[in-house]
Structures are given as structure tokens and as C-alpha cells.
């Protein structure tokens, strides 16, 4: 039998050059991005891509050459991912995240946010009231590790709220320590635990609220309530907001898993997951800012008034940024 008559051979001979062309364009695009492509390449690409796709279906039915088939499968997949892949540059995406995606995702999640805030502050309020009633409660929530406990003196407690030493090294160290303090772990945990219908998220939020509330009661009882509030809120507004949002992201995932509605459970989790990811990404950024505020702001600023001003300003800023009504459909 003359191999020149073989169908698969002629088929390949006729199209090989176009495959090679497409391969070249895709390889270049993968290496150096869309900008490396000339205008001719961009024009040729859709045509070459469609030809390769049709070559693939033909090859499947007539060719027994494994190499050709494997080659076409991967070439088509690569071209497909390129043709239908994302093209926005990193900077466009980042701008889009701040301008549109992040605030939209947060404001869309108002309900889980409220629920999450309720868990955290409800826990805090409960512990606060319990502790004011009877300080013994404090020891239920804390063990002796912290020196800021009900047995500490007024002077000692007061001294922990103001800093006198202000060397750069200390500030930076404080910043780094806050960055890795358990806050970011809590935030991420709150998100991950949401997976189990959101119940562990709620437990975690309440637990941390309780911790906060009992801590607050200690200072309150010694008459340091206002001072502690300033000390706490200068970064706490941002940090607590971030934790609430992380919890909200957890509740979103949990809600999607528990109540998928008309969608399939997979589809529902996937849709919500992408939104929740935006919220959690934002929460991580907020924690970063909170760490800056805590590491530098709180150590440098020892005036209660200034602390309150910063706290209120940051609260106002976040609220406006997230919930200010925006025109929809804008890109």
C-alpha cells in the first residue's frame, strides 16, 4: 500500500504549517504576554485556532498517529486557554479590585456581616456584663498568662495603655508582631470554618468576643474604660471590622453550603466562594493596615483625643468606602 495515499498523511501534510504557526504564536504569548504579538498575529490567531480545533476533530476520526493526536490536544487546549483566558494586566486587576470588586462584595454581604458582628459583639457584651457582675467570671475565660487581670493595680493597667519608649526598632517590632498576632489567624480561620455550615465560625467569633469583653471589664472596673477604648479603637476599628468581615465571608460559604437554593450545591459554593474570596482578601489588607496603626499609630500617639479622632475617622472612611451607594454596571 502506498503511504502517500494514506488519508492521515495527506491530512497532516496539508495542515502542518498552520499548526506550527499557531504553536509559535501561543508560545510567544505564553512567554511574553499579549503585547509581544504583532497585529498580523492577533488577526491570524482566531482563524488558526479554529482550524486547529477542527483539525483535532478530524484527526480523532481518521488518524492513528498518537503523536499527532497528543500534539493537537495540547495545542488546542493551550490556544483555547489563551483565546478565552483573562487578558487584563495585573495593574488593571488591582485597580478594579479597589474601585469596584471589593466594596461591592462587602456591601452585598451586609446580612452575613451583621450576623458576624452580632456574634462578636454579642459575645463581648455578654462577657462584659457577666464580669462586671462577678469578676470571678474573668478566670473562666482567661488563665493566668496575662498580667492585665482583675488583680492588677490601677497604675499598672494605666501604664500598659501608654508608651514612653518610641524607638523605630520597637515600632517595627510591634508592627510585625501585630501582623502575626492571632488576629490574622482568627480572620482566616473564621473564613475556613465557614465551610461547615458556618457553625464553627460563630463559635470562634463568640469566643473571641468573650475574650475581648472580659478584658474590657477589667479596665472598666478600675475606671479606665475611656482610656482603654481609645487605646483599643485606634486600630481596633479596622481590626475588628476586618474580623467581622472575615466571619461574614465564613457565613457566606456556610450559607451557600447549607442553603444552595435552586442551584446545585457545588455551583452555589463556587459562586459564593469567589465573592467571599474578595471579602477575605480585603480583610487581610485591613489587618495589615490595622497592624500599621497598632505598631506605629498607637505607640506614637499617646493622646486620648487623637486616638479617638483616628478611630472615628477610620470608621467613617470604611463605612463610606464600603456602603456608599455606587452606580451599578460600571466597569
Amino acid at each position: 500500500m502506498n503511504d502517500r495515499v494514506m488519508k492521515s498523511y495527506r491530512f497532516r501534510e496539508e495542515r502542518e504549517d498552520e499548526w506550527a504557526n499557531l504553536d509559535k504564536i501561543v508560545t510567544r504569548a505564553e512567554k511574553r504576554g499579549v503585547r509581544a504579538l504583532s497585529d498580523e498575529d492577533m488577526l491570524a490567531l482566531p482563524r488558526l485556532y479554529r482550524q486547529a480545533i477542527s483539525s483535532l476533530s478530524v484527526a480523532r476520526s481518521i488518524s492513528l498517529d498518537q503523536n499527532v493526536l497528543a500534539y493537537l490536544e495540547t495545542l488546542c487546549a493551550r490556544a483555547y486557554f489563551f483565546v478565552y483566558g483573562t487578558r487584563a494586566s495585573m495593574s488593571t486587576r488591582i485597580a478594579q479590585f479597589f474601585r469596584r470588586d471589593w466594596p461591592r462584595a462587602v456591601s452585598a454581604a451586609a446580612l452575613p456581616t451583621l450576623l458576624s458582628a452580632l456574634c462578636l459583639f454579642g459575645g463581648a457584651l455578654l462577657a462584659f456584663l457577666l464580669c462586671l457582675d462577678d469578676m470571678e467570671w474573668f478566670w473562666t475565660f482567661h488563665t493566668g498568662g496575662d498580667s492585665r487581670n482583675p488583680d492588677a493595680s490601677y497604675e499598672y493597667l494605666r501604664s500598659t495603655l501608654y508608651t514612653t519608649d518610641q524607638s523605630l526598632a520597637d515600632l517595627l517590632a510591634a508592627f510585625a508582631a501585630q501582623l502575626f498576632s492571632h488576629n490574622s489567624a482568627i480572620a482566616l480561620f473564621a473564613f475556613a470554618l465557614g465551610f461547615c455550615f458556618g457553625i464553627p465560625t460563630a463559635v470562634l467569633l463568640v469566643y473571641n468576643g468573650v475574650y475581648l469583653g472580659s478584658f474590657y471589664a477589667v479596665f472598666w472596673q478600675k475606671g479606665l474604660g475611656a482610656e482603654l477604648t481609645g487605646w483599643l479603637l485606634i486600630h481596633g476599628v479596622t481590626e475588628l471590622f476586618a474580623i467581622v468581615l472575615a466571619g461574614a465571608a465564613g457565613f457566606m460559604i456556610g450559607g451557600a453550603a447549607a442553603f444552595p437554593g435552586k442551584k446545585s450545591r457545588m455551583q452555589s459554593m463556587r459562586d459564593t466562594g469567589n465573592e467571599a474570596a474578595l471579602v477575605i482578601m480585603g480583610a487581610v489588607l485591613m489587618l495589615f493596615i490595622a497592624a500599621l496603626l497598632e505598631g506605629f499609630g498607637r505607640q506614637l500617639i499617646n493622646s486620648d483625643v487623637a486616638r479617638y479622632v483616628i478611630a472615628l475617622a477610620s470608621l467613617g472612611m470604611w463605612l463610606v468606602y464600603f456602603y456608599w451607594p455606587r452606580r451599578s454596571g460600571e466597569t
Partner: protein
């Protein structure tokens, strides 16, 4: 029963062995075909995407983890070098800066590479893997973020939990609970069809195996086939084998040593009942037989007969 001749018995033995191997092969084929996820492109053509196995994914992750670890070591070393070189004394500052650098590296290593053009980290690239959107849509930056924030919990949190010391009894319990919980995350890919991580589930992504393949020369295009004209095969000779054997022969021709080629040529000759001519080259024989067999099988395929392998009698 009459006593069978030993030769017959040996032949039966060989045949049974061959059938057993075929069985194993077919099962392996079925297993492999389960990895295929057809994706219908907007043009209406089907792309067969192959999902990555759990072991491939684990391998890619370990590679990435090693790279990340080296990057962390490198940056810490550079920072400390800079501080000692320029006579800075603030080792505390150096410590804080490296902590921040490590944090940024850890969080953005995977995101940076997966948002990139190849949608794959260096480890994935090395193993021919890439991230794709499930169902064939666009892979968005949000999806990449989602899958990698979950990684924070699937991998880095259990690690932190291991290192962290407990502060009190309550945290100890939480730690234990968290540890069991993260165990669920780590083992999750083993228990679903698509080998999805929890991150993939949330993000709607899938990791596929699509290594780059080079287009090689068509074996039948070696022109003129060395002494190929000397060979003419009868239909009976060509019907001895099927598609599977053709593919094995292709592999032999493309990548095996001379000795193996000689052995294969010998077996084919024995099977089709041909004697080796005095000046005949094994390579030429194999190429000629490959060309003829492929032609024959393709021709039969045109008539809708796929002869899967030598055992396939077309029924």
C-alpha cells in the same frame, strides 16, 4: 483427557498470559479515561482535558513549597547581610522586615504565578499542570485568590498549629479541633472524582494535566522509506495486529534502542510468518510494516471497523 503435547501447552500458556496482560491494559485504559473531562468549546468542538492526579498535585506542591522555602531563606539571608554590611545595628528591625517579607512571599507566591499567563506555579509547570476554570469559563483573578486563600488554611495553618504553643486549656481544645478540621482539608482531594482541593471547590477551579507535546515527524514520511519498496504485505499479514499494537510500534520506532527494535521486528516476523531476508534491515522492516499497518487500519476505520488490538475479531 488425551495428553497434550508440551508445545501446545506452552502456546496455551503464552496465550493466557497475553490475555491477562490485555485485561490489565484495558482496565488501566478505563482508569485513565476516567481522568478525562470533556470540555465543549464555544466552537462546538470537544477538548479532552485530563485532570491531574492527587500525586501529581502533591508533587507540584512539594516542589513549590521547596522553592518558597528557598526564597524565604534567601530573602532573610539578604536582609541580614545588608544589615551587617552597612553596619546597621538594629537587628530587631531586620527581624521585623524579614517577618513582613516572609508574610508577603507566603501569601502571594501562589497567587502571583497562577494569575500569570501560564496559570501555573513553577512546580505545576514542571509537572505539566495548570489551573483552569471548571466548566471551561474564564479563569478569573478572584478564583485564583479564593483557591489560594483556602490554601492558607489547608496547609499553612496546620503547620502553624504544629509549631504554636498552647496558652491555656481552652486554646488546647481549639487547637485539637482545628487540627482535626484541617486534616479534613488536607485529605479532601483524595475523596472526590476531580481531585479537588477545598480551595478548588470554593473557587470553581480544576487542575489539569496538559504537558507540552512536540510534533514529531510522521514515521511514514521518512522519504523515501529506506528499501520500503521491497516490502509488500498481504492483507492477512496486516490483519494480525490492531490499533493498540500499532501504537506500541509507534513508541518503539520513536524512542527505543536498536536492540529492542530488533527484538520487536523478530516477534512481528514470527507472528506473521515471514523469514528475515539476508540483507534486510530491521528498522526498514518495522517502518514499512508500520506504514502498511496504519494504512490498513485507517482504511478499515473508514468503513467503521475499529480493530482495537490483535484479539479484536470485530464482533
Amino acid at each position: 483427557m488425551a495428553k497434550r503435547k508440551p508445545k501446545d501447552q506452552a502456546a496455551a500458556e503464552t496465550r493466557r498470559e497475553a490475555l491477562r496482560r490485555r485485561d490489565i491494559r484495558l482496565r488501566e485504559e478505563v482508569r485513565q479515561s476516567k481522568r478525562i473531562r470533556p470540555l465543549i468549546t464555544p466552537e462546538g468542538a470537544a477538548l479532552n482535558l485530563k485532570i491531574a492526579t492527587a500525586s501529581e498535585r502533591a508533587g507540584a506542591f512539594l516542589l513549590d513549597f521547596a522553592l518558597l522555602f528557598m526564597a524565604v531563606m534567601m530573602s532573610v539571608w539578604l536582609i541580614s547581610l545588608a544589615f551587617s554590611e552597612f553596619g546597621f545595628r538594629g537587628w530587631q528591625i531586620a527581624g521585623s522586615i524579614s517577618a513582613v517579607v516572609v508574610f508577603v512571599l507566603r501569601v502571594f507566591y501562589f497567587i502571583f504565578f497562577e494569575v500569570g499567563r501560564k496559570a501555573a506555579t513553577p512546580g505545576k509547570r514542571a509537572l505539566g499542570l495548570r489551573v483552569a476554570a471548571r466548566g471551561g469559563g474564564r479563569l478569573t483573578a478572584n478564583a485564583v485568590l479564593a483557591r489560594n486563600f483556602m490554601r492558607e488554611l489547608e496547609v499553612f495553618l496546620p503547620l502553624t498549629l504544629l509549631i504554636m504553643t498552647a496558652e491555656d486549656a481552652v486554646s488546647n481544645w481549639i487547637r485539637l479541633m482545628a487540627f482535626c478540621w484541617t486534616g479534613v482539608f488536607v485529605l479532601f482531594p483524595l475523596f472526590n472524582r476531580d481531585k479537588l482541593r477545598v480551595g478548588d471547590l470554593i473557587a470553581g477551579t480544576i487542575v489539569i494535566h496538559a504537558p507540552k507535546v512536540k510534533l514529531q515527524k510522521d514515521i511514514t514520511s521518512v522519504s523515501p522509506l529506506p528499501a520500503a519498496k521491497g516490502f509488500a504485505f498481504t492483507t492477512a499479514e496486516l490483519d494480525a495486529y490492531g490499533i493498540h499494537e500499532l501504537h506500541v510500534l509507534e513508541d518503539v520506532l520513536r524512542q527505543s534502542t536498536k536492540e529492542i527494535k530488533a527484538r520487536v521486528a523478530e516477534r512481528i516476523r514470527a507472528k506473521i510468518g515471514r523469514e528475515k531476508a539476508p540483507e534486510e534491515s530491521d528498522l526498514a522492516f518495522l517502518e514499512a510494516y508500520y506504514g502498511a499497518l496504519r494504512g490498513r487500519l485507517e482504511q478499515r476505520m473508514l468503513f467503521g471497523e475499529r480493530k482495537a488490538d490483535k484479539f479484536d475479531t470485530g464482533r
